[in-house]
């Protein structure tokens, strides 16, 4: 709200007077607003009118036009959720003063949602918490440079304008580690959604320089999770995406190293090791 007041000058208010009085503001209210914008002291009565009526009218206009927030991917956001998200953004901006806050996730675009994700960028290592349906996630200050942030940002409402910076190079080792964890969790019948999202996001960026938004990412993960054999699908997907994303030599060295480490399992529970090496060998054959 304070930011919104800074956007109006007395001159601008004078120019808009014929559209405002008497339709939105009475002559009296108009005078009080003009006085406030000119930073002249208000009487107790005027203060009362300002905070109880004029300010609320302005707040209504902010909601109506949605220019108090930075909105990304507006076409994907449901109208009813936009209003609620803007309200939440203001509410949590008051609680966490001066902090960068972003509302994102399926709450904005999906009919059904589990919780409302609010991300707060903080230089302190704070614990995430829940406030009813709202899930407050603290992110480190350097998160703005990551693919993850670019993805959540692409459909979001926030109180700041993030600068786009190219995400750092995705190392082949990190990618293969992510793949191994996803397959392990799939075989253990554990929940692997979070890990799968991260893997797909990285693979798509690596292969086509596209940063998937959270909606596209959800569509991708849903497709894999609902397939008959998710392990096979993700393995084929990995092989297809990494070929061409790295130099032949770099890929060969990394794949051979990973094949080597997975050669001699310790126990019988090693189905995952076979899956990994089959995928790596398949990729090796193609690049050879």
């Amino acid at each position: 709200m304070r930011e919104f007041e800074k956007m109006i000058s007395v001159e601008r208010l004078k120019e808009a007077k014929r559209y405002l009085v008497p339709y939105i503001l009475s002559e009296n209210y108009y005078g009080i607003l003009k006085k406030k914008l000119a930073e002249r002291p208000l009487s107790a009565n005027e203060k009362y009118y300002y905070s109880h009526f004029i300010r609320k009218k302005l707040l209504g206009m902010i909601e109506l036009f949605g220019f108090d927030e930075m909105i990304d991917g507006k076409v994907f956001i449901r109208k009813d959720r936009l209003r609620k998200a803007a309200y939440l953004l203001r509410r949590y901006s008051r609680i966490h003063k001066g902090m960068k806050i972003l509302v994102s996730g399926s709450f904005l675009y999906s009919n059904d949602y589990n919780d409302i994700d609010i991300f707060i960028i903080s230089k302190y290592d704070k614990e995430d918490y829940r406030d009813g349906k709202v899930h407050i996630n603290y992110l480190p200050i350097d998160v703005e440079k990551t693919l993850f942030f670019s993805s959540i940002r692409s459909i979001s409402i926030s109180n700041f304008d993030a600068l786009f910076s190219n995400p750092k190079k995705i190392e082949i080792n990190d990618l293969l580690h992510s793949y191994e964890v996803v397959v392990l969790l799939m075989l253990q019948k554990d929940d692997y959604l979070q890990e799968l999202r991260y893997l797909i996001l990285n693979l798509e960026y690596l292969s086509s320089s596209v940063i998937l938004n959270s909606m596209q990412l959800k569509a991708g993960t849903d497709k894999i999770m609902s397939s008959k054999n998710p392990v096979k699908v993700i393995s084929k997907y990995l092989s297809a995406k990494i070929i061409g994303a790295y130099s032949r030599k770099e890929l060969q060295i990394a794949l051979k190293r990973f094949i080597c480490k997975n050669l001699k399992p310790e126990s019988k529970a090693s189905e995952n090791w076979k899956v990994y090496n089959n995928a790596y060998k398949e990729a090796l054959e193609i690049v050879a």
Partner: protein, 105 residues
């Protein structure tokens, strides 16, 4: 069960190991069922019934991963291949990500 009792029980099962992450806090916050699930999982790891991941950074290091559904708690048990258990990490997702990176898994 409180964390002190759990530590003894786990060491009785796996031998002397390190407890890493926020073991005490996280263990005390787990429901009784989840605590039992963790102990049972550790027993299965010992019996060779759980699949592991091998590190590409530390030679011969194996890691077992457990996720507790509907929470962001994770457990990572590390072991020297064909030898002894090294450490049990218990912590929230963001610390687990750092731990994974450190271990090369």
């Amino acid at each position: 069960m409180l964390h002190d009792e759990a530590r003894k029980k786990i060491e009785g099962l796996l031998g002397e190991i390190k407890f890493e992450g926020h073991f005490n806090i996280v263990f005390d916050r787990l429901s009784l069922n989840r605590q039992k699930q963790l102990i049972e999982w550790l027993r299965e790891c010992k019996d060779g019934k759980v699949a592991s991941i091998s590190s590409d950074r530390i030679t011969g290091l194996l890691a077992f991963i457990l996720k507790f559904r509907q929470t962001n708690f994770r457990a990572v048990l590390t072991k020297k291949k064909n030898e002894y258990f090294i450490a049990l990490f218990l912590g929230k997702h963001k610390y687990y990500e750092n731990e994974k990176r450190r271990l090369g898994i």
